[in-house]
Structure formats: structure tokens, C-alpha cells
């Protein structure tokens, strides 16, 4: 007795995406789908086009060809701001925090799309502003608690160690209460302990906030334990797509990536 349930419609679907920078073809005809609630890992050797693909998904780069459907809507031209408004948040490979601001302020900026009072109300502290300030602060503090970064709340992020900055950047993304979270190497440059901690936060994010996550990661061990779905890129082409166990067996993947790395 094995009744296969029909899959729910994917949250994110990429169709025939291609992207090039002058002579460099960064992404060639890539299609894949991300199911709601899953952690999808994007893996592949350096320069495979992983970061470029995330940049396409949230509108930082415009693909030469192809379409993206997100949450039932097909988007041809995506702007970063449109992506944010639709609940797509992300972190960057080279931390892109606001270095001169405190941890708390960084997290609060992540909430900017949830702010309803106008700048005039805020500046004169009138109308909706006073209550909203408290409400936003509470939300930000929840995130700060969730990530265990209370002691650094008022520290300027530029002065924090790298691992903590990565965590704060996750916090800023989570503050937006995203439906889809794009993480570009959230564990790069971390030691085993820090990686484990970060893995816990990512899993907790998936569980507690039911956030769908697309994650780029080089550490295969981490990928295998975290992800429900793996997409493998090499030289801008997709060479594998499936459950972690399946991808692991794929000879093309072993040759291109796993083989060379281990």
C-alpha cells in the first residue's frame, strides 16, 4: 500500500534561467523547484554560479533568459525591493551588514517593511509611532534572543568577530519574517563548533518559523545533515537535483564535486 501524495505547488520555481557577464557564462539554462518548508542546498565547486543564482532569485541580477515563479506568481523582472516585499530575505557570502550600526539597529532595519508609521510620525513621535517603536523593538529582541546575541545588542557590528557577524546577518534576515530565506555560505570560515551552532539556528528557523530555505554550503557533511533537497551546479550547469542520498550516488556529481573535494 503506497499512495503517493500529490506534491504541493512549489514555493519557488526557476525555469531555464541563464545569466552571463560579458564573456563569462555564469548560469546556463537552469531549472529547479523548491517546495514550501524545505531546506534546499545549492552546492558546487567555486565559480559554479551558486551566488549568481541567489542574486537572480532576489533580483540583484537580471537573468538573460528564463522566468521565476514564486508563490504562484511569475516574475520576469524582479527588483531587490520587490523580492523583499514578497517575503524573500537573504544573507551574503561576504557579510553585508551595516558596519557602523549596532546589532540592535541592524536587526531593526530588517523589519523596515513591517513598519506602518510614516517618517513624520516617527520624527515627531506622534500618532502610531510611539507604540510601533515598542512593538518593533519587541520583535527585534525576540530575534536577538533566538540567536543568543543579547550581550552584543548595543555593540557596533563592525567590531564583532566574524562568526557573530554571520549570526547577526541571519538575525537581520529573520527580522523580516521571510517566507523564503536565501543563505549564501552562512558557515564559511567557521570552526566545527560554530558550524554546529549555526546549523541548529537554521534548523530551528525552518521548524519554528516554517521558513523555506535555500542554502549554499561547501561542507558536504553539513549539507547532508541539514538539507531535504540538494541541487548541484558545475560550470553554471545543473548536474544533480534530488534528495541528499540520491545526489550522493550520482556519478556525475561525484566526479565533478564530491570527488574533487574529498
Amino acid at each position: 500500500m503506497n499512495t503517493t501524495q500529490p506534491l504541493p505547488p512549489p514555493l519557488l520555481q526557476l525555469e531555464h534561467i541563464s545569466l552571463s557577464f560579458k564573456a563569462v557564462k555564469a548560469i546556463t539554462n537552469i531549472s529547479f523547484a523548491v517546495q514550501p518548508g524545505e531546506i534546499c542546498a545549492l552546492i558546487g565547486p567555486n565559480g559554479a554560479g551558486k551566488s549568481s543564482l541567489l542574486n537572480v532569485i532576489n533580483g540583484v541580477y537580471r537573468p538573460d533568459e528564463g522566468a521565476i515563479s514564486y508563490n504562484g506568481e511569475t516574475l520576469h523582472i524582479m527588483q531587490p525591493q520587490h523580492a523583499a516585499e514578497r517575503g524573500i530575505a537573504r544573507t551574503f557570502q561576504n557579510i553585508a551588514l551595516f558596519k557602523g550600526m549596532t546589532v540592535l539597529d541592524n536587526v531593526l532595519t530588517g523589519r523596515n517593511l513591517h513598519v506602518h508609521s510614516s517618517w513624520l510620525e516617527q520624527v515627531f513621535n506622534l500618532g502610531r509611532a510611539p507604540q510601533e517603536a515598542v512593538r518593533q523593538r519587541k520583535k527585534a529582541e525576540e530575534i536577538i534572543d533566538f540567536l543568543d546575541i543579547q550581550p552584543w545588542r548595543n555593540s557596533v557590528v563592525g567590531n564583532l568577530p566574524y562568526g557573530l557577524q554571520k549570526r547577526v546577518e541571519l538575525g537581520r534576515a529573520l527580522a523580516a519574517e521571510p517566507k523564503l530565506l536565501l543563505l549564501d555560505e552562512p558557515m564559511a570560515g567557521m570552526n566545527a563548533e560554530e558550524k554546529q551552532e549555526m546549523s541548529r539556528f537554521i534548523l530551528a528557523t525552518q521548524r519554528e518559523f516554517t521558513t523555506t530555505i535555500v542554502l549554499i554550503e561547501h561542507d558536504i557533511g553539513v549539507v547532508m545533515t541539514l538539507s531535504n533537497h540538494v541541487v548541484v551546479l558545475d560550470y553554471g550547469k545543473k548536474i544533480g537535483d534530488g534528495k541528499p542520498e540520491e545526489v550522493r550516488q550520482n556519478p556525475q556529481v561525484i566526479a565533478a564535486y564530491l570527488g574533487t573535494k574529498h
Binding site: 527588483q79 551574503f92 550600526m101 539597529d105 530588517g110 517593511l113 520624527v123 515627531f124 517603536a133 523593538r137
Partner: protein, 355 residues
Amino acid sequence: MLYREAGQFISHYRADQRLFRLRQDRIGFYLLLASAFVLVPYCGNDYWFSAILIPFLVLSLAGMGLNFLTGYAGQLSLGSAAFMAVGAFSAYNFNLRVEGLPFLLSILLGGVVAGLTGVIFGLPSLKIKGFYVLVSTLAAQFFVQWVFTNFAWFSNDSSSGVITAPPLQVFGLDLSSPAGRYLLTLTIVTALGLLAANIVRSELGRNWMAVRDMDTAAAVIGIAIPKTKLLAFAISSFYLGIAGSLWAFTYLGTVEPHGFDINRSFQILFIIIIGGMGSILGNFLGAAFIVLFPVLMSHIANGLLAGVIDAGHLENFQKIVFGMLIIGFLIKEPNGLASIWQTFRQQLRVWPLRY
């Protein structure tokens, strides 16, 4: 034992969001305000009002204006004096041409016109970055000065574009004495200073800093960059416009377009470099430095070096020392006097421990 925070537990977010979190800071601020409003008008003399305190206050306000744009929003500008001029000349014309318009309202409207002018010259910043924004503000600087010099209408056909202060009447009070002009300036600068502290701690202030620190990331988290930048130009120029009116009417009394030339823009820029980018307090520290430094230098020259240096040399000497100080600040303390003050305060808080 004076500077201790023991027992001051903050249990509400609203309390944590106050301008001064420590009771000592709050009391110190109120004492400062009280003495500025009550004590100084009694004790000060006309020289101090006219030559030190009023320009200090006006330049602090102008510093705030530029600091919003450059220190907080990260947009370089060399057009501060242009927006000051627009404020002053607009206020003058409103007052001249609208029968019975109160003085304060004229200044306010002058600020609004300056703000709108700022938005126009800020438009290029939506397409270009960094150094090129500087060029746009430089264009504002030369264009505005050219307009006010060459179109006599703006100065009511006076010779060489000179404008003169309207009667300084506020709510029926005549404030044309030095003490009156000081109090008028102090009131406006205090009100706008408190507002400034609110602005930079609001979402708008955070968005400015986000655009300054990393604009791609700001766009990715959904901050509307064009609106954020243009509001920086608008509010910055509004403040500069009000400062321009005060410069013309409560400080100088009469002013010509040349009074708002590029040297003035540089002066405002030096205030925020010395005082501290991205700090409200820094504007006051920087302005105090800029106003007091030449006074101090000439006292030293007259006292110690009497007869050794003549007046012409003294001015050059001042410029050299000043230039070296600016370079020194840029290298050693890019966050200016405000940051030195913060470090000192922090040490006071934990004294006698090291940290």
C-alpha cells in the same frame, strides 16, 4: 561616585529608547539648557553673544544639516552654503513680499524652499555615487551663488545682492538686542537639535545609515533607496536653510551672496569632520572648535608672540595649523571630538576599573 549607573535598571523598551539613558546625562543636559537659557543671558556680554555664541549655535545647526546628509546618509556634499543661501534669501523674500508674515514663519518657509532645492540637486544621487554626487552639490554651490548675485530681484534690487534682516519680532517681543538675538537663535537651535536627535534614532535615521554602510544590502532588505536619499537631501537642506536665515538675520544682520560661498561650505564640512560624522553632539563640538580656535590663536599670538608675527602672517599661520588639525583628525580620530568624548565618558562610567 557622581557618574554611576548602579540601581538604574531599565525595564521598559520605551525607557531604553530615551535620548539620555543615564540619569546623570539627563540631569547634566537639563542643567546645560537651564544655564544656556537663564544664566548666560544675564552674565554674557555683547561680545560673547554676537561674536561667539550666536555663530556657534548657527554653525552647529548647519553642521547638523550636513551631518544628516554626509555623516548619516553617506552622500558627500560641498553645497551646504548654497542651501543656507536659499534659506536666507527665500525667508527674506517671503517676509518682504507677504504682508504681515511673522518672522518665524518666514524662516520656516525659507527652510522648506531650501529643502525642495536640496531634493532637486539630490536627484542625480539616484543614478550616481560617491565622488559624482559631490560634483552635483558643487554645481548647486556655484549655480545658487550666481543666481543671487545676478538677479537683483532676489535682494529687492539692492546693490550687489545684499539683503538686510527684517525686524526681529517674535510674538510681539523685540529681539534685536544681542541677548535677544542669542535667545532667539538658542530656542530655534535647541528645538531643531532635539528633533535631530529623534530623526537619527528613528527608522529614517537607520535607513540613512543602512544606505551609507551598504546600499545593495539596504535594497535587498526592502529599504526604498530613492526615497531615503531624497529625504536626506530634503531634511539636510531644510536644516541648512534655517541655519542660513539665522546666519543672515540673527548673526550678521546683512549678508550678500558672497557670504555663502564655497569657503562657507568647506567650513561646515570641517565642523562635521572635527566634531564627528554621524553624531549630533559632534556638530556642537565641531562648531565650538571652529568658532573658538581663531579666537584662541589670536590671543596666543597677541600674548606670547606679540610683535613677532604680524596680522597677515597670523592668518596664514592659523590656516596652516587648522589644515594640519583636519588631517590629524582624519587620520587619528575619524569619528571626531564626539568619539573622544564618548571614550572619556565610558572611562568615567567604569572608573576606577579599566573596563
